[in-house]
């Protein structure tokens, strides 16, 4: 019987890992000693970072998604179904359709879910760009606002030292809002206020989750006349009065409340009971080097579902995926693990509508901010429109 490697989730982490597994284990796959199978609850693969551009009328839905099967090597068995329950003791997953699938090795890459409903009033009165429909709603407001106040807040998970999704996104979009309003000729009548909570992973009273970047931000914002406030931890929102209230006791009015919402793991992961995260967030306890789930055998996790201090980003998946592939290959071939993740995250930040800034960091070193420029912008735009799909196919 072939050993089955089962991957849950056809997002960026699962897709690049499935393709890479087939090429790494090609002798075993072609001789049918190993089977690579993927379960995902959607036949589509979404390039999620493009939701951010949807909020600026830069992407149509069909441009940011591809049929999942077209991104997978033909050796991979792909099934569209939703995992309803993980039966770790039985090495099996049970799906909402009633089907069950056994595994020898399991990789969980089910991402995270934006959950504005976890803050009173935020779902009703706030906007965000972390999913397609909310991003469309935000686009309508950003394209029509003539005067008033855009108030930006960032919400972190309650679990200590775990970041929100894509750390740089709030800065990227703040600068994009500024550029857009200038293009529309209404910037002088719209105030933009960027805020950051008191606790941001290991930092206190900063404007970003890493100190070096935090230090350069005031200059960047002042040059663009963007107001900024530290220590604004969103507590609740009054949708009728359009007021955001912080845990620190401040009240701020807004015309648009652009909030990075709370996030959580998907239901099946939360309900598995393996997570130790507070507030029912569901992050899986992850060995920061081997990418195994603590306490479970032959189960690996990656991407947005981990409880590691690194960014919940495609750029993290890109560095975690080869480690998992090597570790599963070495388990199959040698009977032990052999690779370790060093916390590396690589990305090209979109700094305003035109400029880009390549960045990287790991467990040891923080991002060193460099001046954003148009060449970086071209790199980012080419990534959005083309290179991403090569990354998903495991080619880059």
């Amino acid at each position: 019987m072939a050993k089955r490697i089962l991957i849950i989730g056809g997002g960026i982490g699962g897709t690049m890992t499935a393709n890479h597994l087939v090429s790494k284990l090609y002798p075993e796959v072609s001789s049918k000693k190993v089977e690579v199978m993927m379960l995902s609850n959607s036949p589509w693969h979404y390039y999620k970072p493009a939701f951010m551009y949807v909020a600026f009328n830069k992407f149509f839905k069909d441009e940011l998604r591809r049929p999942q099967q077209s991104l997978l090597r033909p050796e991979i068995k792909f099934v569209v179904d939703e995992v309803a329950e993980f039966d770790f003791s039985g090495s099996r997953v049970n799906c909402s359709s009633g089907q069950s699938f056994d595994y020898d090795y399991l990789i969980i890459s089910t991402g995270c879910v934006p959950s504005p409903e976890r803050i009173e009033g935020l779902k009703e009165a706030g906007d965000h760009f972390y999913q397609y429909d909310p991003a469309r709603n935000l686009a309508k407001k950003l394209m029509t606002i003539e005067k008033g106040r855009i108030f930006i807040t960032v919400n972190f998970p309650k679990m200590a030292n775990v970041p929100h999704q894509c750390g740089i996104a709030p800065i990227e979009t703040t600068l994009m809002v500024d550029d857009l309003l200038r293009k529309r000729g209404v910037r002088d009548k719209v105030e933009i206020v960027y805020t950051y909570p008191t606790v941001a992973q290991l930092l206190r009273n900063c404007l970003f989750l890493q100190k070096d970047t935090c230090d350069v931000l005031p200059t960047v914002f002042e040059q663009r006349d963007i107001k900024f406030q530290r220590s604004f931890t969103l507590d609740h929102v009054d949708p009728d009065k359009k007021i955001a209230v912080s845990e620190e006791g401040k009240e701020e009015d807004f015309d648009i409340l652009m909030a990075t919402p709370p996030i959580r793991a998907v239901d099946a992961v939360i309900n598995s009971g393996v997570s130790k995260a507070p507030n029912n967030e569901g992050w899986l306890p992850t060995n920061h080097e081997t990418m195994e789930v603590y306490g479970l055998e032959n189960v690996f996790v990656m991407g947005d579902t981990v409880d590691l201090p690194v960014s919940k980003a495609g750029g993290s998946c890109h560095s975690q995926s080869p480690v998992i592939v090597n570790n599963i290959a070495s388990l199959i071939r040698l009977g032990h693990l052999f690779d370790t993740y060093d916390g590396r995250v690589v990305a090209i930040a979109q700094m305003g509508l035109e400029d880009g800034m390549p960045l990287w960091y790991d467990y040891e070193s923080d991002v060193q901010p460099t001046p954003p420029n148009k060449l970086g912008g071209l790199m980012r735009k080419s990534f959005n429109r083309g290179v991403y799909w090569s990354v998903a196919r495991g080619l880059v």
């Binding site: 148009k374 071209l378 429109r385 799909w389």
Partner: protein, 140 residues
């Protein structure tokens, strides 16, 4: 060429050169020695031209151009990748056959719905080819 002994340099320039460490100064001198013949032969001008053209390309490129170029890139790479994968997989399946399938075996293989879909794909490609070549070109 010894720059450090040149007392005629303007103030800011001398300052900045004096701030260099001895190792950096030696490196700078070496670099200048290297560049000197390129300057004399006007060959460095070509490098400046390349930089200028690169800057022009960066400035001329707009979102629409990126969109079109990236589509070509994705379709080309995706097409090659897919064709390569299919050929590799088919090759491996055929190599693993102990004997080539009999004619009846081939017919049996065609009962597999995935094989039928694949064959239908080939036939649809043939239809497309036919459509593209259906219009006879009259002699001028």
């Amino acid at each position: 060429m010894n720059i450090t002994n040149n007392t005629e340099l303007p103030l800011e320039q001398t300052n900045s050169i004096r701030e260099l460490s001895p190792a950096a100064q030696a490196g700078l001198e070496e670099l200048i020695d290297k560049v000197e013949p390129l300057l004399a032969g006007r060959r460095l001008n070509r490098i400046v031209d390349v930089m200028s053209i690169t800057a022009d390309v960066v400035d001329m490129t707009d979102d629409y151009m990126i969109e079109k170029l990236c589509k070509v890139y994705e379709e080309a790479i995706g097409g090659i990748w897919n064709a390569g994968n299919l050929a590799r997989m088919a090759g491996s399946e055929v190599r693993n056959m102990e004997e080539p399938p009999s004619t009846w075996g081939l017919v049996k293989m065609a009962r597999d719905p995935e094989v039928r879909r694949g064959l239908a794909f080939m036939i649809m490609m043939a239809k497309g080819l036919g459509r593209q070549t259906s219009e006879p070109l009259p002699e001028e």
